[in-house]
Symmetry: C2
């Protein structure tokens, strides 16, 4: 089993209140490189940050890595416009980070990123792949793309309280800057990405399209961001079988709407509850409190865990968290000291 | 367990009679990218060649991949001056391919490649790593470096009959062009690489030095090329424990001299015989006939195979060869049709 992780950046993440409240923009640019290193090596090895929220919630990369250490899977990181260097091995798509979606053109090279990713995806010899993402601000660009496509638009958040009104205001500005109205890109998915989206969308859409063409089974590993990729694929005429695998944290937040979206997009939906409520560890508590929720292929990775092995994943997650410097609360119940670094995504 | 594979090129490989007799220079440049893809994906996915000798001997990458499919190991490919693009995920050392060693300077950026690789190696969290190489022409540049260091100089070949006189003549020309005599770089290993070597030597030396500094156990996975890296490390003052793991094909060719070299360099030597003489398959027959012998971390990978699992590796190698289009001889004993593409290394 191979997980293809597209990693990149968009200046949309820098808009106040969109992503990882309290994180400094300079640190946020290191989140995708750090996420890639955590899944590749078990910890950041060159990236100067460990993406952990002020409350001690680690990036979903920690969970994806814990699953990798338990069940094992191959990893291919796509550089889909990384804003900073990573020491994880990458396949370059020669992509630049995306611009602020409130500019006229957010991803000038969307079509070439898509083409390169599609060629890569079609050349993979695997029987099945998971496709995931790491890009801060990604739910806002997802909302932008869904709106441009004219899809019913709901997206998740890495924050316990989804700043959805803020995101909608950004999308309205982005539409105006692009000279678009909602639904104007209904049949032009690459245009929707170019005007409103981010480079990781072009990469994940491309690799999925190419792999499907080559007869590889594709699971989109993620929540509302990857559901947006499913919408992009359907609008581009891809009618192959397609699955989405996400976490119970996204499914719980979205209520019935995620299932409706998957039904409408003719995607099989797999939701995995990692059972974090059974554990007494700050990292898992933060997920249960609604932080982070998904990202870095977390839900897809969890879907690979065989029956009965989830306790082993939770145990391993504690080891990974130790490595990342995230320790659980003391006996007196105080939360541990944590860094001020950003959590994943938005 | 992680295998770090440094992949690059040198124009030295283009000298007539040095590497992969009969191979066209244009195709040889694709051997390291193809090797990296074979270990990463199981077959070349973007590289336009499968490195197979005219007689049907596959690149050692096929054996390394077969081991990977049986025992599993993490892979990190370093781009240490690839002459062509690869679709394998890579960590870039921003290295250019090496020039012909018969010019005054063979690797202008040897010191910066070494520094970058050392930083990478020192950041790896692994307890132990294997370090291997793929670079056609690598035994000739190894001979050049050994000569400049003043080390007793013997190197292997990917050809059944080692064109050692041809290599010595190249090294003599290279010394003259560099204004050096044998032994002139005895205490300047990076100068030896810069004047006489190749970028993959700087990368493997650097990653090994950095990893050893960080307390990681290092096994140099290869034969005379990696023994040359051991010599470079010793001459730079590295006195940590160091192992070399190679194949019985190299050990048989080198007779007692490989053991003597390892004794002199204070390196533990592990030799693995994959038992190819027990199999009836053209690929394994060609190794027994003295082709290829080693490369792409083959000997190191074989050293990871637990007792009793070598038959499984041989079985898996047949599957890998099928995938690469290398079929065994027909019932009437004729050799199968094979491509005209180059074998690995020199």
């Amino acid at each position: 089993m191979r997980v293809v992780l597209a990693a990149g950046g968009t200046e949309t993440a820098l808009i106040d209140g969109i992503s990882a409240a309290g994180a400094s923009p300079a640190l946020m640019a290191h989140t995708p490189p750090a996420d890639a290193e955590i899944v590749a090596y078990g910890e950041p090895i060159a990236a100067p940050v460990t993406p952990v929220s002020p409350s001690g919630c680690p990036t979903p990369a920690a969970i994806t890595r814990a699953v990798r250490e338990v069940v094992g899977f191959d990893l291919t990181v796509l550089d889909a416009g990384l804003p900073e260097e990573t020491a994880a091995p990458t396949v370059s798509l020669e992509a630049a980070p995306g611009a602020d979606s409130r500019s006229a053109v957010a991803v000038p090279d969307a079509a070439t990123i898509y083409d390169r990713a599609r060629e890569f995806g079609s050349s993979l010899p695997d029987d099945e792949i998971l496709v995931g993402e790491t890009i801060p601000g990604g739910t806002t660009t997802a909302l932008g793309v869904l709106t441009a496509l004219g899809e019913p638009a709901g997206v998740s958040s890495s924050l316990p309280t989804n700043p959805l009104e803020r995101k909608r205001a950004v999308v309205d500005e982005a539409l105006a800057a692009s000279g678009l109205e909602a639904g104007d890109c209904a049949d032009e998915p690459l245009k929707a990405i170019r005007r409103m989206g981010d480079p990781v969308q072009a990469a994940t859409m491309g690799v999925a399209a190419g792999a499907l063409e080559a007869g590889t089974d594709v699971t989109l590993a993620g929540g509302t961001q990857m559901a947006t990729v499913a919408a992009l694929l359907r609008r581009s005429g891809v009618d192959d079988e397609l699955s989405i695998a996400t976490t119970s944290f996204v499914a719980d937040e979205q209520g019935g709407s995620l299932g409706e979206t998957c039904f409408r997009l003719n995607c099989e939906l797999t939701v995995t509850d990692p059972g974090f409520d059974e554990a007494d560890h700050v990292a898992m508590e933060r997920y249960c409190a609604g932080e982070a929720k998904e990202g870095v292929a977390m839900g897809g990775a969890l879907s690979l865990v065989p029956d009965g092995k989830l306790p082993a994943v939770r145990e391993r997650l504690v080891t990974v968290c130790d490595r990342l410097g995230i320790e659980s609360s003391d006996d007196d119940g105080r939360l541990p000291e944590t860094s001020e670094e950003p959590t994943h995504g938005s």
